[in-house]
């Protein structure tokens, strides 16, 4: 029963993705417009309200890595003059484009009709689309999302984003798609987003239970897939999250843990909070290192990179452009470091975590720069021991399995010893 229910949401997601990539492949014939944009600050509801199909280059890069294709793409980009020092997502994407733009599922991705550069929480995004513009020679529209440097989105910043959407983004979408802006359609979509967000938050917060019915890092990667990519604000997206929530609630009621590469994780020895994106080239091997030790992740920051919903934000159909501004502003990497520390601290406390782990990736300065001070500050505030491990997003040269496993095992031993010490007192 449990497996059938789990399979239903996974099947749904597979069907949704397959259909999406099929439509993308057929777009040059069907005439469906295509908009490339980024996960943080993606305006999927708006893009789709113009009948356009979104393409998320980071998703393509990570899926290429999971299918073992990223290394060749990175090598091609480096051969073309890209530095070894820069983001491997960018190089994977550039390499994929130069190799004929065959997407991770094996279907050809269409050229974009518009590059929507949502400049949200990542400097590299700007360079990435300047580079992609050279590959595709298509219009680019720039949307600047002010960073929450003081820990809040000010009214002026909100107005700035809404103004850009109204005065530059919507006209650019109208021109690229040949369709007029339809605010009613956008509102309907935003209402579907809010419903899906309610369900996603219920799923993520189910990890407060013991045992946790989900893994909120490795497992959450699958859970956030539809809402971070092409399906936020769609009926199929909303249906997916209803199904997922039911499955997770039923699993929790049965006292079961999540499925992992090492089998179902019912006996959970360590509850962890994780900061930073996962490695994608060895995703299952990496996950297995945790699961085999009985470690379940109960909360993660990476699962908030495409939107932070568990602190209350929901898309609001009553204020379409304002709510899109709020959404973009609140994406995790757009938050300053004190806000990130506060979020992690809250997770450690609310989810009753035994430990806190940072997985630092070479590629992403938006995440990585400042993680060591974050580690110390979270330890200071919570008293929970932290650990620091390193690899990369999609460049396998920086994934050292033996080193990671060694460090993780040492960390778990330390948690065990600490627990034994506490019990002895």
């Amino acid at each position: 029963m449990a497996d059938e229910e789990k399979d239903r949401s996974m099947e749904l997601q597979k069907e949704m993705l397959a259909e999406h990539f099929r439509r993308l492949e057929a777009a040059p014939e069907t005439g469906e417009p295509v908009v490339y944009t980024f996960v943080p600050g993606n305006l999927t509801e708006l893009v789709r309200s113009f009948g356009a199909l979104p393409v998320l280059p980071e998703i393509n890069a990570l899926q290429s890595a999971m299918r073992g294709k990223s290394q060749a793409y990175i090598a091609a980009a480096e051969k073309a003059g890209h530095s070894e020092d820069v983001c491997s997502y960018v190089k994977c994407d550039i390499g994929m484009s130069k190799a004929g733009n065959i997407g991770p599922t094996g279907t050809r991705l269409p050229k974009p009709d518009l590059l929507l550069l949502s400049y949200t929480g990542c400097f590299t995004f700007m360079k990435w689309f300047e580079l992609l513009r050279e590959e595709y020679h298509c219009p680019t529209v720039f949307l600047q999302i002010p960073y929450q440097g003081d820990g809040t989105e000010t009214p002026a910043q909100r107005a700035y984003v809404a103004r850009q959407i109204r005065e530059t983004l919507i006209p650019a979408l109208e021109k690229a798609t040949g369709r007029r802006y339809d605010e009613e359609k956008l509102r309907e979509s935003l209402a579907l987003s809010a419903a899906a967000e309610d369900d996603l938050v219920a799923v993520l917060q189910s990890a407060k239970k013991t045992p946790s019915p989900i893994d909120a890092y490795f497992g959450a990667v699958y859970y956030v897939g539809p809402i971070f990519s092409a399906f936020r604000g769609t009926p199929e997206g909303a249906a997916y999250y209803r199904t997922l929530r039911q499955e997770v609630e039923q699993r929790a009621a049965r006292g079961e843990g999540p499925a992992t590469p090492a089998g179902r994780l019912d006996r959970q020895k360590y509850r962890l909070v994780v900061e930073g994106p996962p490695n994608w080239t060895h995703f299952r091997e990496f996950w297995r290192m945790f699961a085999e030790e009985g470690a379940v992740v109960v909360a993660s920051t990476y699962s908030k990179v495409g939107g932070t919903y568990d602190f209350g934000f929901r898309h609001d159909p009553a204020d379409p452009l304002g709510t899109l501004a709020d959404y973009c502003s609140g994406c995790y990497t757009n938050l300053n470091l004190p806000s990130r520390v506060a979020m992690i601290e809250a997770y450690v406390k609310q989810y009753n975590a035994d430990g806190f782990l940072i997985h630092s990736v070479k590629s992403c300065n938006s995440f990585s720069a400042g993680q060591l001070p974050i580690l110390r500050e979270v330890e200071r505030r919570t008293g929970v021991p932290g650990a620091f491990i390193e690899s990369d997003l999609v460049d396998a040269r920086y994934f050292s399995a033996a080193n990671l496993k060694n460090r993780l095992e040492s960390y778990f031993q330390m948690l065990e010893a600490r627990r034994a010490g506490a019990a002895a007192v």
Binding site: H82, C122, M126, Y160, T168, P338, K362, A369, L372, P373
Partner: protein, 388 residues
């Protein structure tokens, strides 16, 4: 004042990791305050208008031993933030009442958060530069940001900026920028008169002293280059690109020039000439500052290029203006803006037949033999065969 006088003064300040010149200014009158800023661009006019001394924080270079800074940053992050943290953790920056972190890259952005965590008593502001290509929307946003900064620094200094003090500051920086432009023009015309190792330390000193002193020294140096013109030399004229944030060690600048090149344009310390031309003094000063940046900022890797051909054209134009023979891409290791831009910039230059070479450095690089060989071969190839 002789050339040597100016250069001795500049070199001493450049070498001083304790910021003695800035501290001396603070000590000269009770209640004075200083505000630090990271590269690349900060509106220093607003700092001055609030009665504060703007102090450029450009890292510790090769002179600073990193003891604590490495504990804050992973090996795959550029060197600048670890030396800046080292300066702070060793109390060398304790004289600053405020720190401004411009939107240069994610490392500098996140460094603002590190500051917020480590030094909560200091005023910290992330300067979210306007990036959108539509100048009116950009200027309106940037003006709001400038207004907030003006108000906040006024509270820090206790001397809120007024329309008059802002105009005075704009006028003073107009004068300084005009002299910087003149020095760069003079170097383009006769690079043997203004070796870049000299120009660089003068510019660097100007980052930490009161503006009046910098202006006086620039004037004196300019006059000295007329009266002491030096010997005319024939070397390959090069533009150096990519060192706008983390600064190259002085040894690298010397190495390039001693290997047979004249640097006739560069982007070192770019913030001191980020705005081209004078900023108007009439009307609302914050409006003028905002419009100057959104309409007249120089093109660089930290700002969005709205023109699809812009990256390809940029170095062709720079080379033409500087009458350069070639381009040296010199980026700091792990510098996202410079390294991500390089393929686009280089493609444009090479399409135009401009010889290029590329290398990476760190501010604490101490070995220059490899650079000497690369730059020397490059210069030889240009001089002997007209191209690399």
């Amino acid at each position: 004042m002789t050339r040597k006088n100016v250069l001795d003064w500049a070199f001493e300040i450049y070498q001083d990791l304790d910021f003695g010149a800035a501290r001396a200014w603070l000590d000269a009158s009770p209640g004075r305050k200083a505000a630090g800023y990271l590269p690349v661009y900060a509106p220093r006019e607003i700092i001055r208008a609030a009665g504060m001394l703007p102090v450029g924080i450009h890292g510790g270079g090769e002179r600073l031993e990193i003891i604590k800074g490495d504990a804050f940053y992973q090996s795959y992050i550029c060197h600048l933030p670890r030396s800046v943290v080292e300066l702070a953790e060793s109390r060398r920056l304790a004289f600053l009442s405020a720190m401004l972190f411009p939107a240069t890259c994610d490392v500098i952005r996140n460094l603002s958060g590190v500051w917020q965590l480590l030094y909560p008593q200091i005023y910290v502001r992330y300067l979210d530069l306007p990036q959108v290509p539509e100048p009116e929307i950009a200027a309106s946003f940037w003006r709001e940001e400038l207004e907030t900064l003006t108000r906040d620094l006024g509270e820090v200094s206790g001397t809120p900026a007024t329309t008059e003090s802002l105009r005075e500051a704009i006028a003073a920086f107009n004068e300084a920028r005009a002299l910087v432009r003149e020095l760069y023009r003079a170097r383009r015309e006769a690079p043997w008169r203004l070796p870049t190792e000299e120009l660089y330390v003068l510019m660097r000193a100007g980052e930490v002293v009161p503006l009046e002193e910098f202006i006086e020294k620039m004037r004196a140096y300019l006059a000295a280059t007329e009266s002491e013109p030096g010997r005319v030399l024939d070397r390959a004229r090069v533009v150096v690109v990519g060192a706008f944030c983390e600064q190259p060690p002085l040894g690298l600048v010397k190495t390039i020039e001693r290997a047979g090149c004249f640097i006739v344009d560069d982007d070192f310390l770019l913030g001191n000439r980020m705005i081209e031309g004078d900023i108007p003094l009439d009307g609302d000063p914050l409006d003028n500052l905002a419009r100057a940046f959104t309409r007249h900022a120089v093109k660089t890797s930290t700002l969005y290029e709205g023109d699809p051909e812009g990256k390809h054209r940029l170095l062709r134009e720079k080379v033409a203006v500087a009458r350069a023979d070639g381009i040296i891409f010199a980026a700091a290791s792990f510098c996202d803006p410079a390294l991500l831009d390089r393929p686009m910039l280089r493609a444009g230059a090479e399409k135009a037949g401009i010889p290029c070479i590329a290398f990476q450095f760190a501010e604490n690089t101490g070995q220059f033999q490899q650079f000497r060989e690369q730059a020397g071969t490059f210069a030889d190839s240009i001089k002997l065969w007209g191209g690399a």
